[in-house]
Amino acid sequence: MTTPTPPPVPGSAPTASAEIYDRGYRRYDGPRTGVRGASRSVWVSSVQRALGLRRKFRFKIVPILTILIAYVPAIAFMGIAVLLPSEFAGEVVADYAGYFGLISIAVILFTAFVAPELMSTDRRTGLLGLYMASPLNRGNYLVAKGTALMSVLLLVTMLPIVFLLVGYSFVNLGPDGFGETVELLGRIAAGGVLMSIFFTLIGMAASTLTNRQGFASAGIVMLLIGSGALAGGLVEAAGVRNEVQLASIAGLPFEVIARIFDAPNEPIQDVSTWEAVGAYAAVCLISIAVIAWGYRRLEVTK
């Protein structure tokens, strides 16, 4: 939309060549993008902040590290598959479900870093107050932030495995036939989404409880790793029944993923699928409750 040449400043007689232009305030009266556009720009700025884009290098370190940890094993696996002489080809078993477990530590640490970065800072810097004074309300703000966090987590959970699948297919180690490929892709996608939603909700819930990033990050790490160590300790030391293993919050998504892939690595024996999914859902619902409670209580425009 080319703006017409601005009229010369009234009062100055416009000779053939000379003109003085009004550099004053230019209004914009075109169409506005509404809540959808506002949510999208929150999504974009949150993803950029999470990946440390447009910011000093030190904010890029953790994202880069996480991406390396997530993709390097995939590249390594493919390297092995390519270099191995063909007769060993049989031994290489594409263990996609296992891959999720492999990168779990990276995902936990990344959530602990990113979630507070996206959530707590908005409250501390007063940006949340400005968002509330824009077309956004608390609901679509939280949705925008949640999807941003999830997209970043998908980047380091689902995508590396798809990358692995594609790699294996080139080396014709991948699933044979179109039908099986699509089914596998479906499972990987489901696994990635489940995992991302889970850690997004936990990260957001923890970041709701405190404005200080340091405390929120520490809280997430202690919650996930702590509960894992606790559950592990209980089962071995005290020989307690296996359900207690579900106390390991970080382990829950992997239990569900293991069942999606009914994968070679055995899920906890006598824990039924419904118990695993139930525990997974319970943690998600609690997190959502904490987020809703936190943000409803917030006094904004203060």
């Binding site: 230019r26 929150v42 425009t301």
Partner: protein, 316 residues
Amino acid sequence: MHTAAVGTPTSPPPVISATAVSKSWGDHRVFSNLTASVTSGVTGLLGSNGSGKTTLFGMLLGLHHPDGGTLSVLGEDPSNAGPELRQRIGYSPEHHSLPNDVAAQDFVRHIAQVHGLPTREATTRSSDALWLVGLGEERARPIGTMSTGQRQRVKLAQAIAHSPDLILLDEPTDGLDPVQRDDMLELIRRVGTEYGIDVVLSSHLLEEVERIADNVVIIAEGQVAAAGPIDELQTGRGGMIVVVTDRQAQLMDALRATGLDVRDDGSRLIVGADIGADELSDTVRDAVARVGAPLRRMSPMQNSLEDIFLAEVHGR
């Protein structure tokens, strides 16, 4: 309640109008019967601390809903027209906290996008806004490296960047030194007159509002104590203030000799509030000349906003 004729048929529709608005947080009643209307231009919102200015801004933005009464902003009811209305309003909060590690330009552009401007327009408009508030060279610098004065300008820039029809500024000169405050007030004046954006600014410095506002709304005890165009509110009272640097006693006698009522109010004389301004000035002029008192200052007796505030807010 002292209200000048407001919303006379000829004047444009009010930007904001509130009728019998009431609001309370739990048992703390903030507004009991707020009725006022704000016409276009620069309007000063005055009130003692904790008189609900921030709550009022919240209601104008449709963030809090009034318990009773009706409120209209830019012709719409903020309670249900929330998102579309907030797109056309700029808001600069009272606190100074801003994202310190983000460049001013990125911050202003992001707020413009969030208010509905497409990316390309948001980029040009945010740059314009930063140049207009005098932060052209510093626009790429992170906000954390900026002084209080510069941060207040960034807050103003983000309020005007998305071409709002109305901006709400909560204590925009808080923390500024006299020179910075002058610049900021002059900027706000320009926004209110040249940029076609109506301005409502809250302040507790009456002298500031007197200097740049066209209208004023004074809130006290949950109601409007006084409202209307400033010059209308300030006229009246008649009489003159006379300040001389010498021979003040002789001047008082000379003035009393002409039958005028004269009061010594510390360093200045308050002369006769009963007769018209013109004859009064000639009589005073002649008295000063005859007595030979060096005339430092002579001006018609005006209600300063302070007098109005003290009379209305605490007269009750």
